[in-house]
Symmetry: C2
Subunit: 304 residues, 2 copies
């Protein structure tokens, strides 16, 4: 069974009735609601859902239709950059599906939103149709107000839907790997140690691929706070081991770590296999994995 996650962002974080209606709308049959986070200052709501691809895409289409009816960007004020009522829809592979397949799904969803809702759609991240649209900030440049006066320009032509913009603004649809927010705590109150380690491991200063990192002081303890943007490139256990190694170089230990939110099971199983030096371990070597595989085969086995 393929499972995808999606974390659509909506430009409404204040009106409880509208937020509730969005939460209701996204839950098409088979769509499971994992989280709802609203922020009044940002005037923005982030909903996390998961399920089989068809179900999730249907839920996303329905909620996008509703957001277009109930959120008016001409009246929207908030700190967070945005260009649409449904501002951005990332599709994220969880299990049994590849990032490339999520790119195909992003195109299908974008095409449908463009055609049936008449909204301009931009594709981003792994689904980007133009290199200059890979990064979300580049697409959001000028925000809704800027797009009003520039959507007619060739460089701002939408990937799907009309080159016209109304109160619902535009929708950015894309595909990206699962993002893990992960913190590691050091046994020192010296935040400079965490900042130095963060600088050593983050990709932007020559560290590990697909790792963002900063150092913080949290309740008197130095913390390396990270986003792991692609654990296919840099697994979580590689990040942990590297932070432990760099900390030891400074005579500092690691007390514990924490996930902010969720991690795909596969990431945890890979960590277990790594530390246990398990040779040839596959996710189907768990009882649950074997059951899933047997259910997929849906056939009877001859005796061996």
């Amino acid at each position: 069974m393929a499972i995808i996650e999606s974390v659509p962002n909506f430009s409404e974080g204040r009106r409880a009735d509208v937020i509730q209606a969005l939460v209701d709308a996204i839950q098409a049959p088979g769509v499971l609601l994992l989280d709802v986070s609203s922020d009044a200052d940002h005037n923005r709501t982030v909903i996390t859902v998961a399920g089989e691809p068809d179900a999730v895409l249907e839920g996303l289409f329905r909620v996008t239709a509703l957001a277009a009816q109930t959120i008016n960007l001409f009246e929207h004020r908030g700190e967070h950059p945005r260009i649409g009522a449904t501002d951005v829809i990332p599709l994220v592979p969880v299990s049994g599906i590849t990032l490339d397949e999520c790119v195909t799904l992003a195109h299908a969803l974008g095409r449908r939103i463009g055609a049936e809702l008449g909204l301009p759609v931009y594709l981003y991240a792994a689904a980007a149709a133009r290199p200059e649209r890979k990064r979300l900030p580049d697409i959001r440049r000028g925000e809704f107000e800027g797009l009003l006066t520039s959507i007619h320009l060739p460089e701002r032509a939408p990937d799907y839907g009309p080159a016209q913009i109304g109160p619902a603004g535009a929708v950015v649809v894309g595909a990206r790997p699962f993002l893990i927010a992960y913190n590691i705590f050091l046994d020192t109150p010296n935040v400079e140690v965490a900042k130095a380690i963060a600088k050593q491991i983050r990709e932007s200063s020559g560290g590990l691929p697909a790792v963002q990192a900063k150092g913080f002081l949290v309740e008197g303890q130095a913390q390396v706070s990270m986003n792991l943007l692609d654990t296919g490139l840099t697994p979580l256990h590689v990040v942990f081991d590297e932070v432990v190694r760099l900390a030891h170089q400074q005579g500092v230990g690691v007390t514990h770590s924490e996930l902010i939110g969720l991690a795909p099971e596969q990431v945890m199983l890979a960590a277990a296999a790594h530390y246990l030096k398990l040779r040839g371990f596959r996710s189907t070597d768990t009882v649950e994995g074997a059951i899933q595989q047997a259910a997929l085969r849906h056939k009877r086995l001859p005796p061996t």
Copy 2:
């Protein structure tokens, strides 16, 4: 969703048509076949199935009925001790269900086999109704032939079903924790090191609870070969760390480890959390775990 595993043993390992019929019979709707292993010398077949409790119990009842019709213990010869056509049925909790709940299921299955199939049933392991019936070898003492002449004695009275025995013999039903077969390989050709470590860690010589261990030489490499009988008592990662520690004491390293068969996901997630020093990690912190929990909630609660 609760999942149990069962690994029933049948006193037939030679007639392919009978084995196939057993494999077919056990697959009631919702029962997933994970493995079939037949041994001609033992004249015995072990089938591994899993699924939701009701489905698995129905499959076990059906296969027990068929085995009673097709296997005749008066004609059965084989090396392995046995007292019945369906010789033993362990029920094993995998996820979402406790060992105690599996004890209740074992009683229900034993009662049904006794009442509807007219077979004598003995309860063993965690489901044992008498302390002297905890261990399988104690129940199998004298095998089928011995039971023929002793079933009328009070100490051999079955827990369910009649105190009468026919060609199908008796059935032993019980509940036990998941058993993991696990091997750790040392970077030495000296089997004595593996034997010494095995002696130090096995429960029978004062080592870790619920751990059986022996030392072997496998393709020139010393191997500590183990059965982990209850990873609730002694987690797999505790066993790994202890073998690494004891090996290092002898100046020996660990090259790798391997699972023989399957391990419950929970065991692997616990290992990952241990090595990553993840504070407060629960199985619902994986995307898949959260989806399962949301699916359970979805049946009861309105959207939040």
